[in-house]
């Protein structure tokens, strides 16, 4: 107890250009019981800005300090509830609104299926909020500049000693009087805590021009480099074995065959499905006599014929088959299909024109399937009948 007057002389502040001020006093005790007794004495002395320091939690100190339990639980609860709401909303929006995915016909918004992810996010948010709240908000950490860290008693205070710290901002604080008071409470040692007014670390290192320039340089370099990589590098897959397959594509040379062609033609005489050869090439009149439209007029046939007519015929022959198509300003005018000649042609004769072309009209055999050609003819017949209706239609 004799060495409680352990006030170290203030260092010569002016010499190294820094200023130190006393920010508090620290008393060190040798057992939890001594600390508790001292604590009651300090409270009775009228000081209000002080706290204890201990290497491990001492139970019962909250009671002596008149502190209620931590309110950290509310932080965790709010974070957990918020996470629950966010998780449910996000799953609903992604699965049922933004990109509805039909998975085996199960409902787009499925409450039970969304429970696991919601629960995990609740735990995650609550935990992160608890830790961040405890460290940064409730405890005010980090405190790398705390004067306690510079105390020579700090090692013992994290091992087997207990302390009381009085803040110099306490109205009752006086370096000498408070030291005497703490010394009188059974302290092993009393120390005045000092702290530099302005942190030299911030002033000389963090705020120095070279360091700030370095930060700016890193920022400019990394954003430029990222931009360059995306602009000129594109997306580079690490490995693309699946894309590179040992096969011959169309028009490529093949070493397997003597003629060196990669593209092979079929066995002579084979016919692809739906591609029976046209038997009346160069003889449209015979086609007109022998070919018969295999379709009967029906709603489906008319609808299909109308659609295909609209795609392939309408640009030249016009919507009403009157030769006033949208392309007639750029191309030679196509004839009307309401002429007596066209009306009197058989379906097979028209089929021959669609298949082989006529005058300036090209062959459509490669673009319109045979079935569609017959259905277009049905639609054409309907249009012809609408413009040149026979007497009986009008009765």
């Amino acid at each position: 107890m004799s060495d409680f007057r352990d006030v170290r002389p203030a260092p010569s502040s002016e010499a190294d250009g820094t200023q130190e001020k006393i920010v508090g006093a620290l008393a060190v005790y040798e057992s939890p019981d001594r600390l508790a007794d001292a604590l009651v004495a300090v409270r009775q002395s009228g000081l209000t800005r002080f706290d204890t320091v201990s290497p491990y939690p001492l139970h019962g100190l909250d009671h002596l300090l008149g502190k209620s339990p931590s309110r950290l639980g509310y932080v965790a609860a709010i974070a957990g509830i918020a996470a629950t709401a966010i998780a449910k909303l996000a799953q609903w929006w992604t699965s049922a609104v933004d990109y509805p995915l039909n998975i085996g016909g199960s409902p787009l918004f499925s409450l039970p299926a969304f429970v696991p992810v919601t629960f995990e996010l609740m735990v995650l948010f609550a935990s992160i909020a608890t830790v961040v709240g405890m460290l940064a908000v409730f405890n005010g950490l980090p405190q790398y500049g705390s004067a306690l860290l510079r105390s020579r008693h700090m090692k013992a205070l994290t091992c087997n000693r207990y302390g009381i710290v009085v803040d110099a901002k306490d109205g009752e604080f006086d370096p000498h009087a408070t030291s005497d008071l703490l010394g009188g409470t059974g302290a092993m040692s009393v120390e005045l805590l000092k702290r530099e007014n302005v942190s030299r670390f911030y002033r000389e290192r963090i705020l120095s021009v070279p360091f700030l320039l370095l930060l700016v340089g890193v920022a400019i370099f990394s954003s430029t480099a990222t931009r360059m990589v995306y602009r000129y590098g594109g997306e580079i897959p690490p490995f693309d074995f699946m894309k590179r397959q040992p096969k011959v594509s169309a028009q490529q040379v093949s070493a397997v065959f003597p003629d060196g062609l990669g593209t092979r033609s079929g066995v002579p005489g084979t016919v692809a499905r739906g591609s029976l050869p046209y038997a009346f090439a160069g003889d449209p009149e015979r086609a007109g006599q022998e070919l018969i439209n295999p379709f009967k007029a029906s709603h489906e046939v008319m609808t299909r014929g109308r659609a295909q007519y609209g795609v392939f015929c309408q640009p030249c022959h016009g919507r009403l088959a009157d030769g006033r198509g949208t392309l007639t300003t750029a191309f030679p005018k196509a004839p009307t299909l309401h002429s007596r000649k066209a009306r009197e042609w058989s379906d097979g004769r028209i089929y021959a024109v669609l298949t082989e072309g006529q005058n300036i009209m090209p062959a459509y055999v490669s673009q319109i399937s045979g079935k569609d050609r017959w259905q277009i003819i049905h639609y054409l017949r309907a249009m012809q009948r609408s413009q040149n209706a026979p007497e009986r239609d009008l009765q």
């Binding site: 508090g24 040798e30 019981d33 508790a36 009651v40 009775q44 800005r49 204890t52 320091v53 201990s54 290497p55 491990y56 939690p57 001492l58 019962g60 100190l61 002596l64 008149g66 502190k67 339990p69 931590s70 639980g73 965790a76 992604t94 699965s95 990109y99 995915l101 998975i103 199960s106 696991p116 992810v117 629960f119 995990e120 996010l121 735990v123 995650l124 935990s127 992160i128 608890t130 830790v131 405890m134 460290l135 409730f138 405890n139 005010g140 405190q143 790398y144 705390s146 860290l149 700090m154 090692k155 994290t158 091992c159 087997n160 710290v165 803040d167 110099a168 901002k169 702290r195 897959p237």
Partner: protein, 469 residues
Amino acid sequence: MKQVPSAPGHDVAFDQELLAQIDDDIAAPMRVPPGKLWWAAIAFTSSLMLLGFALMGYTAYRGIGVWGNNSPVFWAFPIVNFVFWIGIGHAGTLISAILFLFRQPWRNAIARFAEAMTIFAVMTAGLFPLIHMGRPWLAHWVFPVPNDMSLWVNFRSPLVWDVFAISTYFTVSLLFWYVGLIPDLAAMRERAVTKVHRVVYSLLSWGWTGLNRHWRHYERAYLILAGVSTPLVVSVHTIVSFDFATSVIPGWHTTILPPYFVAGAVFSGFAMVMTVLIILRRLFRIEHLITIRHLEYMNKVILATGLMVGYAYLVEMFTAWYSAEEPERFMLLNRLTGPYAWAFAVMFTCNVIVPQVHWFKKARTSLPIMFVVSILVNVGMWFERFVIIVTSLHRDFLPASWGLYAPTLVDFGILAGSFGMFFTLVLIFVRALPVISMTEVKATIPGSQMTRRRHSPSELPDVEDGIHV
């Protein structure tokens, strides 16, 4: 060396030097340079780890065709290893969170190490789904981040639940572990011997000084984390079991899978903690902190969870018989007598029969016996996952598509690499951070708290919050 009781029950007079002694003993591995044994051990484990990484790189380069996985066994070693390692992690959370809530002070001596093991095991486990993707550079597609296909993940898929469960589990375990470490890091900061130590421990301890204000919120934070970790740990292996249970494969499609997986996870995790602690306490001479009594308690947990696992095996058999479902009955017969019957035999012997020795106190307190049992349990638990995954897949409904599975050397290499990675991390941990929580051990020593209750001077002005020194 002084005998330091690490839990209440021993009536020993409070001694200040005891506290310093505890700190010295726990901090010793960080203050002295490692010996030849440590270097030899880490050389071996890190070689295995590098072998595993090289083979993972080879897999990413050539494709997963280099493994034994093929129709009909598309899930094999990687998923077996994934479930195995996730399970190992569960003991850590059980010890740190659930036993904390049950106020079991004996956990204090082993909690830190078990938590570290959780983190390393989850890190190891996480590699397997990653490499199983075949194209791990597209791993971000499993998260609901906007991507070039403007497509979201399917939140109805257990595989997506898995992503959330594992990543949450890792994050929360890390936070829990780190929060527990902060006061110890502050103590290490004060005991630092080199400048590097001082800077690193200072930065990591956030300027912790141990004010009562700090402790008040810290203890509440620890309680909340324990509270949320408890359902979390149950949910994680439940969700892992959903990967199987929500499918229609006989042997997977059962409702007992979630509790069975959780019990099995705790079982294997405790065995792994046991294996490592038995070596560690001898090497670092902390037998007085991690006593035979601690190990005996852990053996009781191993026995209890082993019985649960055995019960699950029997219920599975009973249900298969009782269901009168032809595929279920065939699955059971195929497990017992099919081409992988040997795997079932290994599993059943190691998981159900071997732990029965722990009914005897002699076995529970004998280091050699418990060491062998702990290793056998983990062998058995690895085979349990093999049995569940491979024997269920290789013969399902359609006999025309039956097949056999054989792992390749790459499979074995990656398995060995996972053990290498886990033990490398453990070896680094025991040299870099306090293996036992100094704070918790000191706080529960007899006499380390106030011995009598005092009257609070309530009529006095309130003590202000938040002193700033």
